[in-house]
């Protein structure tokens, strides 16, 4: 059970979207994806819905955007991702 970290903050479109979706699709059971971007990934969330992925968004005052992504069929990964998101908020 592990966090898969993906920092796309220095990539130009469409790389952040493509890499995030690819990583979300290849998550192993128990794993969740932690994506870091420099801006709001406006096209991402509809695509995650289509792929039956859950997600939590966190925006920092600096503008940095963190997204935690898991498969909706994987409750353990969801729990881990929620805990990680809470820790980030704290």
């Amino acid at each position: 059970m592990a966090e898969q970290l993906l920092d796309v903050s220095e990539m130009e479109p469409p790389e952040p979207l493509v890499l995030t979706l690819a990583a979300a699709e290849s998550l192993a059971t128990g794993d969740y994806l932690h994506m870091i971007h420099r801006r709001f990934p406006c096209l991402l969330f509809d695509n995650l819905d289509q792929r039956r992925c859950g997600y939590l968004k966190r925006e920092a005052a600096s503008g940095r955007f963190d997204v935690y992504i898991w498969s909706l069929d994987d409750p353990d990964a969801e729990m881990q991702a929620r805990q990680a998101a809470e820790q980030l908020s704290a």
Binding site: M11, P13, L17, A22, D46, Q50, R51, G63
Partner: protein, 421 residues
């Protein structure tokens, strides 16, 4: 990598913007051919008919086409408000605009003002309903991004430019219509500042941070730049005072310096031809302002700042924009089309493969050379104008070829996918 269909639900069909982009370089080639044919005569007077034909080939034929095509693409995505019947609308506007600009150019080149009778109606039918539609669509937008506000101002700038231009054209065409040449400077001011400079700013607020990985433009600037610039332009139209022109020039310089500074702060330090086009554009904007300041002391032709502004600033910025927007759109539509066909397992090229950096880089070098020689031709037109025209034609043709090759790649991959599917 499994590319599944991306949901850019508001994206119009690829043909909507691309028909404008593909034909646009033909107009810059035409401007170069006019310069090649007429030579130094082109710069003899701001009223010379070949110069008016070449100028409108670039401003309406190239810049107008690309920006109108881009607006029809950007608006639905940025503002979340689709235009009605996008394919029909874009095909109709493209036809009216293209034939209208050709007739306008032919009217000047042949000194046959009867052709303007048709050009007026075609250009009015292409531009005025589109302007109204764009303004209504933008106002309805739920997005509050400053780009949207800036685009509203740019479209207002286009409307004023178009109305003044049509009025001037009517003066050439119908004897009972008064030709008020005093409006020419106002038409030029609204076209260059109210339409081109404001729209480039609106596009830059999105494109520069997103594709060039820079910090955002300052919020105050994004909110205030366009309304202040158009407010000053309105004041200048009414008062024609020098201090207002100075303030407008200062604001344009601030935009160029802020853009160059943001690009200097970019996080990813790899070569990018779009960035070079934008730097060339901003450098040209500053040079145009400098020439405007120094023109009276340098014995330069009074058209020099305008030539640098149009050929250096506007054409370079739009050229650079095309190298991001066209590969991105082709990649996006390719992705959606081949996935819609089902089980096809072929590889979708990435953006750098759709228009290879090397191809774009060679065109940038040609464009840079064309501009250097063109700027020299402002001093010694009898020596340098025709070489500048040749380089300009080669650069425009190379851009056109790069865009066509990208379209061919799109069609080939879709066709292969259909064969396999």
């Amino acid at each position: 990598m499994n590319y599944t269909a991306l949901s850019l639900a508001q994206t119009p069909p690829l043909s909507v913007p691309l028909r404008f982009f593909i034909t646009a370089p033909l107009f810059t080639i035409a401007a170069g051919l006019i310069a090649l044919w007429f030579g130094p005569e082109l710069f003899e007077s701001r009223w010379s008919y070949p110069l008016l034909a070449a100028t409108h080939a670039i401003t309406l034929g190239f810049l107008g086409s690309v920006m109108i095509g881009a607006l029809q693409q950007l608006l639905p995505v940025l503002a979340g408000t689709p235009l009605p019947k996008p394919v029909w609308l874009s095909a109709t506007i493209h036809l009216l605009l293209t034939v209208g600009v050709l007739l306008l150019m032919a009217g000047w080149l042949l000194a046959e003002f009867a052709l303007f009778e048709f050009a007026i109606w075609l250009l009015a039918a292409a531009l005025l309903p589109l302007v109204l539609l764009l303004i209504v669509t933008l106002f309805r937008s739920e997005s509050k991004h400053p780009s949207i506000l800036t685009m509203i101002f740019a479209v207002i700038g286009l409307a004023v430019t178009a109305v003044l231009g049509l009025d001037l054209l009517a003066g050439y065409t119908w004897s009972e219509w008064v030709l008020n040449r005093g409006l020419t400077d106002i038409h030029l001011g609204w076209g260059l500042v109210g339409w081109l400079a404001v729209l480039v700013a609106g596009v830059a607020y999105q494109v520069v941070p997103m594709f060039q990985i820079t910090p955002d433009y300052p919020k105050l600037m994004m909110r205030g730049y366009a309304p202040m610039l158009l407010g000053l332009l309105l004041l200048w139209t009414l008062l024609q005072a020098d201090w207002i022109t100075w303030l407008i020039a200062l604001m344009l310089a601030v935009f160029a310096i802020v853009t160059l500074r943001l690009q200097h702060q970019r996080r990813r330090r790899i070569a990018d031809v779009t960035l070079d086009f934008w730097r060339l554009a901003m450098g040209s904007l500053l040079l145009a302002l400098l020439l405007w300041l120094l023109a009276p002391h340098l014995h330069l032709t009074p058209i020099a700042p305008v030539v640098v502004l149009i050929a250096g600033f506007a054409v370079s910025a739009v050229n650079g924009m095309l190298y991001k927007i066209v590969p991105f759109l082709i990649w996006l539509h390719l992705n959606n089309r081949v996935q819609a066909l089902g089980s096809w397992q072929g590889k979708i090229p990435n953006m750098k493969q759709i228009i290879p950096e090397r191809q774009a880089r060679w065109q940038f070098r040609l464009q840079l050379a064309a501009l250097i020689v063109l700027f020299g031709a402002l001093l010694v037109p009898e020596w340098l104008l025709r070489p500048a025209a040749l380089l300009w034609i080669a650069s425009a043709a190379w851009l056109g070829w790069n865009l066509l090759a990208a379209l061919y790649l799109f069609r080939r991959i879709v066709s292969d996918a259909q064969d396999v599917g």
